[in-house]
Symmetry: C2
């Protein structure tokens, strides 16, 4: 039933080693031989056995994705993107949900790496933002690619895919300014997340660019949750200097702010503009639909995985840095100041 390399070798009339060379794109195979083998491979629908490959060779054909993120849409998007790259390169993906704050995180990951030989790790926040963790993983002699917020990479110990939340936040804030808003509030996510830091930085930059004075009363701390949006908006609307617009650190917070506005009898967007960030599915399912910023997560993840695979094959010497900027999407939750 299952086709082995031996079958292909017989069919092509060559040794298994030659088939192996063709499969792995090694040089030193004459063109006619290569073609004979390719034909046999196709006609037998042969695919190399990953277990045997991992066992026999020095190369690995597995990468892993660890996650600790309450946002299921984000995780699925990442996973699908990574899987896409894996499929194309004949790699296998190991999925490993775990707690970033776990006592024995390093031990857990180290064990995983030792037990199933892994070429590398795709790291998303919060893992990508834990330098000591990244460094430790690198000592294990495996590759790492980090997806993180920022416009410049923090170091060059490992490749980075930088998501320019700063610029995207700037666009969103600029959009609000363009609508005539001056009192623009900001509801933050967890302060230790780089995404929060970068989005806040973009917000401040936009204000500064437009000579709008920063009112620190309009910045409220929070976390990436609906509840936090509810609380944040309530608090803001109780200030003497009420905002006419709120930029929420993500869509979930924005949904919470919408909820609070409803509670307080405030019409959106007539009396208050609200913007989110992420373009998650429910940013299209709120009333009104959210103005937000979109980032192509599956694409980013596929890129990251590709990079990781290339690096593990030593096809890529230096640590590369790639950039993505989330794009503004204007919907119905923001409007002109009246």
């Amino acid at each position: 039933m299952k086709t082995t390399i031996t079958d292909v070798a017989k069919a092509a009339g060559v040794s298994i080693k030659t088939v192996s060379r063709v499969i792995n794109n090694e040089p030193s195979v004459r063109q006619p031989t290569r073609e004979k083998v390719m034909t046999a491979v196709k006609s037998l629908n042969y695919q190399p056995n990953l277990a045997a490959r991992n066992l026999a060779g020095t190369k690995s054909y597995s990468i892993a994705f660890i996650y600790d993120n309450p946002n299921a849409y984000y995780v699925i998007d990442m996973q699908n993107g990574i899987l896409e790259a894996c499929k194309k390169q004949g790699f296998e993906l190991l999925i490993h949900p775990c707690r970033a704050k776990s006592e024995n995180l390093i031990e857990e990951i180290t064990d995983m790496i030792k037990h199933s030989r892994i070429a590398g790790l795709v790291l998303t926040p919060p893992f990508s933002e834990m330098p000591e963790f990244v460094e430790h993983i690198l000592t294990l002699d495996i590759e790492v690619v980090r997806i993180m917020s920022g416009d410049i990479a923090p170091d060059d110990i490992a490749p980075c895919i930088m998501v320019n939340d700063h610029e995207a936040a700037l666009s969103i804030t600029q959009h609000l300014v363009d609508l005539g808003h001056k009192n623009i509030a900001f509801i933050a996510g967890e302060a230790e997340h780089m995404s929060t830091v970068e989005r806040l930085r973009g917000y401040k930059k936009a204000l500064k660019d437009n000579d709008i004075e920063l009112d620190t009363q309009l910045i409220v701390n929070g976390e990436y949750s609906f509840e936090s949006g509810v609380q944040g908006a309530k608090q803001l609307m109780a200030e003497k200097n009420k905002p006419s617009a709120i930029f929420c650190c993500n869509d979930e917070i924005a949904a919470g702010a919408l909820f609070a506005a409803r509670l307080l009898g405030i019409n959106i967007p007539e009396q208050l503009s609200i913007a989110g960030f992420e373009n998650s599915p429910f940013s299209r399912q709120t009333w009104p639909r959210l103005t937000t910023a979109h980032q192509p997560n599956p694409k980013i993840a596929e890129d990251a995985a590709k990079l990781l695979i290339a690096k593990s094959r030593k096809q890529q010497a230096k640590s590369i840095v790639t950039h993505y900027t989330p794009q503004l999407i204007v919907r119905d939750s923001t409007s002109n100041v009246t």
Copy 2:
């Protein structure tokens, strides 16, 4: 660095075969010997290499999860549950997103199964509801566990985890009846999904139990989407015999209905009660929060994976059927008829 069975054998002063026996819980190992080995295993933190196991043995230590479901929360919950079972049993999980309606679905899955030796498949809708697909997979000599809607298993060719949507829908509808509603509408999901069929059946049963005549005008076809909820609710509220309550086939539809109500200036729940189904995260993030039914997806998935693993080890002779019933959660989107 990595510990092999040979290291353990040396440490315990036995042959590698004996270590293998202990690891695999085979009989014919004397108790003292077993303990010596166990001690060595622990002190060396040994875990068998999966690639070698899959390659050498006749048993497999991998199961796969294929999905085609727009609901990321559902997929992640399932995945986490399955991974939990895998971790406990030393199995590896292969993740495979694919399109159920793809021309070459069977070919694709067959290839995957042949390519990486797989013990079994966890099937969720829509795959679990495709009998010809399930039968084909079974001919490949691997195990299958299906998670599906209904109160009785459709057949006994493979184990089923039945989710009793019928009874849960009955509870929800009964809840609406108890609040005094008589004109209760139903917005359906895709008609070909068993979940739709079962939920509709529960709805009808509840009406009948309470001697409420079924008004077919109050049942609208739809699909599991926000947009469908918007359209469905608009249509219903345009009828001469307007409903005082709408039971939506899932939370997303309910969110759409909420959206439509907002558009039409209808207050929820004062003028109209709306109930969802699923208890997805955004059922807590709508205004008002949705009354819905909760099912413990991670638990269900873990159960399914456990069953699959047991079956693959022939520890389970007959096809088992397990049952779960989603539980009513009353929130703020339903209230008394006024």
